[in-house]
Symmetry: C2
Subunit: 141 residues, 2 copies
């Protein structure tokens, strides 16, 4: 039986519209909405605007964290969605972000975290797998 304390989605989105990645206010709205959509608990956040464009942010969740860093000049946002508890929560955040950020191409890895302790009550068998999709087109692309 495969156990883990959480699941971590690591994704690099390419080909996103530049105007979505430039200003921290836009990204704050999208990422906080993704947390609300998935029903995770936001307990704090820090954001930073780079000039002339580009932003970075981290959302601290009761369930772990979400992080993003953008390179608007490359249409690139790298994002992390790490949740403990119900692994569907990370999937739901991630699916919201695909729709909101409109990538043309995604590099995606999903990892279990803390999966080598044996006395955790959560059962992730059949739920978490390590997957690598390179150069796949997103549904939103």
């Amino acid at each position: 039986m495969k156990m883990a304390v959480g699941v971590h989605i690591i994704a690099d989105f390419y080909g996103c519209p530049r105007e979505l990645l430039s200003r921290v206010e836009t990204l704050k709205r999208i990422f906080e909405e993704s947390a609300r959509y998935a029903g995770v608990t936001l307990i704090g956040a820090r954001y930073h605007q780079f000039e002339p464009e580009g932003a970075t942010g981290i959302l601290l969740l009761a369930e772990s964290h979400i992080a993003f860093h953008t390179w608007p000049e490359h249409g690139l946002v790298t994002l992390d969605v790490y949740t403990c508890g119900d692994p569907k929560e990370a999937d739901n955040v991630y699916e919201f972000l695909i729709k909101a950020l409109k990538p043309k191409r995604i590099k995606f890895i999903k990892l279990p975290r803390g999966d080598e302790i044996e006395d955790i009550a959560l059962d992730f068998e059949g739920v978490i797998e390590t997957e690598v999709h390179m150069g796949a087109d997103s549904e939103a692309g």
Copy 2:
């Protein structure tokens, strides 16, 4: 030539002394010291204490982020060290954290981030590789 915007170290530390993982004040000190040691630029941080023990924190860097979540009852801390620019910076943060948190066992993955755009000036060839060490003893163990 392999290009990337940054390098992301994803590590789960097992067998850490429980007293190092219980209180957020201890962890804040260790993680902020790791950033100073590596010479990265801390631009903000958020921390949270769980009761009766356990903590979570995210450090926003000019170079990307560091994140941790602890399960003292399991001797477990999961950590992320993601830096853009000189990839040695992430290594330096990580090496500091091994010494400070004293894991007996480490699960470690190092990933390039944003490595599919072709017009980035940084050359990570021979520097970043995807490595997976499962069940390896740390030098500090």
